[in-house]
């Protein structure tokens, strides 16, 4: 089942989207918003599934689904907690900052509490007030959970995964070192994120296995492929582990979004790998590419995002059909 929130009001309008993303049908008679559906999932889910089946059979009123009309599936959320499960990525970015990575990072998940009061729509511009902040994309996988009890096991946590999405976790790289030095984590360095046009239930994803989403996450910058790393590879912590980590000392409310962190694959030699145009799988953020450039050439050649730059993040199935729709965002001077 695929769900989306059409733009309108602060929380959008819940619709069911066809598997091929061509059509939608209104679902507000079941739940006005996706959050409302998540709040009463046991009641809403079977009704939404029935509607989704009717939509596939063209037996309910339907309209063309346009990804531009979609807000993020949860236009705002009560929780957005982003892990950093591709430890490979952490190691590289730290290397670029000259910061050592403790060995415990391979066993104890990193996770930060992100702002969730308002997300950008998947086709909304990324507002940037100051280019010197070093704006970067981060292509990720994210899940939406139901209620999770404090102390939930990995298996219980996995069973609470309601929906899977893609994410662009916008980061202001040049603000990060100062914020992390202050010790309280990211704040100004993490403006609003964006999520894919549709959110998909795990059962509808052939490539959802053991709490990981397998498959190439295609990341383009200005129409050129920046990365096509496999989201299922080199993910040190699966979503069950990430959710259980988040729930260790407190319960999680329905509608909690948990992110994977920037998807990142090692190269065949275990190193950072190569850019796409050199035969590698490339990178899911500019910081990683800049790190590799620094390692190879002593300094980064790629600049961070500027007004006018366009980022695109998408995943396609075995038949090259889009699974979640595309996040496509232009950076705009704010």
């Amino acid at each position: 089942m695929k769900l989306a929130s059409l733009k309108g009001g602060r929380d959008g309008r819940l619709v069911v989207v066809s598997n091929d993303l061509a059509w939608f049908t209104e679902a507000t008679h079941i739940a006005r918003t996706l959050q409302a559906a998540l709040d009463n999932w046991d009641l809403a889910e079977p009704e939404l599934r029935g509607l989704a089946e009717s939509l596939e059979h063209n037996s309910v009123p339907r309209d063309r689904f346009r990804e531009h009309d979609a807000a993020s599936p949860l236009p705002r959320a009560y929780q957005w907690a982003d892990g950093s499960a591709y430890v490979n990525h952490v190691a590289l970015v730290r290397q670029a900052r000259g910061a050592e990575m403790p060995e415990s990072f391979w066993t104890d998940p990193l996770m930060y509490q992100g702002g969730s009061d308002g997300f950008l729509g998947p086709r909304d511009p990324i507002p940037l007030a100051d280019e010197s902040w070093g704006c970067d994309l981060e292509a990720e996988v994210a899940v939406v959970t139901g209620d999770v009890a404090q102390g939930a096991s990995r298996e219980e946590a996995l069973a609470a995964v309601r929906l899977v999405m893609l994410c662009n976790d916008v980061s202001l790289r040049n603000l990060i070192p100062n914020e992390l030095a202050k010790g309280f984590g990211f704040f100004q360095s993490k403006p609003a994120s964006a999520f894919s046009p549709v959110a998909v239930t795990p059962d509808a994803l052939a490539n959802w296995q053991d709490g990981k989403l397998q498959g190439k996450l295609e990341v383009e910058l200005n129409g050129r492929m920046l990365g096509e790393a496999d989201a299922g590879e080199d993910m040190t912590f699966d979503f069950g582990t990430l959710i259980a980590h988040a729930a260790r000392t407190r319960s999680l409310g329905a509608g909690t979004i948990i992110g994977s962190g920037t998807v990142s694959n090692r190269g065949p030699d275990g190193g950072p790998g190569k850019p796409v145009d050199q035969g590698g799988v490339g990178y899911s953020c500019l910081a990683e590419l800049r790190t590799v450039e620094t390692i190879n050439d002593g300094k980064p050649a790629t600049s961070f995002l500027k007004p006018g730059d366009v980022v695109r993040i998408e995943m396609k199935d075995a038949r090259r059909h889009t699974v979640f729709g595309a996040i496509e965002q232009e950076v705009r001077q704010a």
Copy 2:
């Protein structure tokens, strides 16, 4: 005007409370929840104010207001960002950890993104699974904002303050050093916070001045006064400055909660001051008391919270009437 959310469902039921906290009247015909009122404040506020006036004149149906029946004013929120405006407190807690405090902390506000998917009610127990986590209270002042534009000035930010509350920002002290060392800020070390039974508009607070709430914040532990620091003193950053800091790189959605951080006053000599039973104003968290004990005696004498301990946080007006109602929470084995 005083507003509260009576328990019921995930978001409670909006009521207007009389100034003396003796009575309430239903407000759900104006807005079902406090978040809904904040989402449409320009429309909801005048109607709620009219209702509040009618309640004071006993010209609408009313019922006894019982603080036990109240959830936190926002039982869950889209954003909870907690500052650390009493830099005095930060200096002391760091001193106890043996961590240096950079000079910039006096000019650049500290702020962390907190979990907001579910808050404890003001009289709800504090669930604690493991005593060794070092559970502490933190008595704070918090404000709820309307929409704040990215780049808002301090004055614009102050104008966006809709409501003022008290807060118990529960912290798991023994989990903090490891989390902060990881560099991503607090997560497991900050379980659910609780807020006061009622939230009050700034105009109804005689002691709201220049973005600070003046007056003694009374903090009791097991019926004994732990602290009575003045929330208006030694607050290095007022709420306007804190909100503007939060909005530097992104807009803030209506219903954002911004916290002051643990209220803390210096002693007359500029040092940490004395416990209440030694003639000082005491402390608004156990960590600070333990720090002072360590400075004086080489080791802390006070333990962190254990099951059965009861915390109470309240502020009274010049006539010793409660302003926000009391947060009163017993620690319970989870």
